[in-house]
């Protein structure tokens, strides 16, 4: 740890720091694990993967340092200040330019398809995890969901934006076999939010999130999502809703964009477009 100097606490276990060798600002995340069996194998595998991943649109893991506590390590990431939530708030006019939206969406999809080619599911793509350098409009994604779910399950910051707004329907019904398609759904939510500057599916709690999605995308039926009633036993308690017209909800988006949005937010994960296919969509052709 002597290589780094702590500057400020961002939230529990997360600090802003300075690398004393390169004088680069970094983000430090402390990660604890149960002590009895040493470092969990899953953590060794994950960090090895993170070390191997190099992509212009993914926040890079610079270093892993041993904490003085035996059952704790510190992950050192490159640091960026502005996330998408604050970017939209600070530069609402820039976000109104269709080309900005297109360029940012393309970068999110590039990052997602890179993760997916390693067969990694990010699991928590949301505006707060999406950083933008305002000088160059370079976008970088950070923060896998795993450190939180596996080791620090109770560190969710209550002030942090509500992550469930970006969760795919198949996770909300606790369908166990989720895949890379859940990230594509989150990207779709972010796409709509970049256009309208507010979350598309903004429910008041995780419990109401599914009903909110159904109210806009339509309640799944045997035709739109074969087998859904088997996965989800409580389907009958939801009102039957017809899909709403996304053109009226996401106003100002060109027709090709609306078509892509439909494909990103396809309810049945099996029919959802993949990140790689989305990059080939006509929306990006001009």
């Amino acid at each position: 740890m002597e290589k780094y100097k702590l500057i400020a606490k961002i939230k529990k276990g997360v600090f802003q720091g300075l690398c004393l060798l390169s004088s680069q600002t970094v983000t430090l995340k402390q990660l604890g694990f149960p002590d009895n069996e040493g470092v969990p194998g899953s953590l060794i595998k994950e960090i090895t993967l993170l070390q191997a991943m190099r992509h212009a649109n993914i926040i890079r893991l610079i270093d892993v340092v041993n904490h003085q506590e035996q059952s704790s390590i510190v992950l050192v990431y490159e640091s960026m200040e502005t996330n998408l939530t604050s970017f939209i708030r600070i530069y609402p006019k820039v976000m109104k330019i269709p080309r900005t939206i297109k360029e940012l969406l393309r970068q999110i999809l590039l990052a997602a398809s890179y993760y997916h080619s390693f067969n990694i599911v990010h699991g928590g793509i949301k505006p707060a995890n999406t950083f933008i350098d305002p000088a160059t409009n370079t976008l970088k994604i950070t923060d896998f969901v795993w450190p939180r779910t596996l080791f620090n399950s109770n560190t969710e910051d209550p002030n942090e934006e509500l992550g469930f707004c970006y969760k795919a329907p198949e996770i909300l019904v606790e369908h166990k076999q989720f895949s890379t398609a859940i990230d594509v759904w989150s990207v779709g939510c972010i796409f709509a939010e970049m256009v309208t500057q507010k979350p598309l599916f903004s429910a008041t709690s995780e419990f109401h999130q599914l009903a909110k999605i159904f109210s806009i995308m339509g309640t799944p039926s045997e035709e739109t999502w074969p087998g859904f009633s088997r996965i989800y036993r409580y389907l009958h308690i939801y009102n039957h809703c017809k899909p709403k017209d996304l053109r009226k909800l996401v106003t100002g988006l060109e027709p090709a964009g609306i078509d892509l949005l439909h494909k990103l937010l396809y309810m049945d994960p099996k029919g959802r477009i993949t990140a790689r296919q989305a990059l080939e969509h006509v929306y990006f052709q001009n």
Partner: protein
Amino acid sequence: KVAYCPKQENFVDIDAQDVDNELAAVEYVEDIYIFHKLVENETRVNDYMHTQPKMTEKKRESLIDWMIEARDAFMNETLYLTINIGDIFLASKTAANRELRCVGVVAMFIASKYVEMLTDPMVYDFVEILNNQHEKQDVLVMEKWILSQLEWSLTVPTPYVFLTSFLKAAASITPLEIEVHIYF
């Protein structure tokens, strides 16, 4: 960058038989080997015998033999990775004579965690292999020390990675025969 070699007419695709096997990840098989080939040179261990005062070729050999005997439920891949981890560590840090076995066993502990999928191995099994000459705490401290020396990066292309592919290319032999070749 690796030069792309176009597939020739008489090219036999050795992975074609696994197209339907999801676990074999045929779609990415080329990417994976290109990646391994790229990092092979980066992760190659230098000859460290002259910098490691208590180590000789002979001693390294008997240490490896001892490890194979000590742990019978050893997967091949784990064995090769263990040797790589031990070599990379010993090439960068000097260890005292009585620590050498501990390094070997902890390398084995880490490699088992990385390779073997279902459950993590128990630390006590490894303390036992060391005849209780080192305590559990020593093993855990050594584990973190070795991991940090390796910069937590275990994607080393061990000889095993290439061997399986070469054997597959040499003749379409069965997985069991591959196992046999790798051990002897």
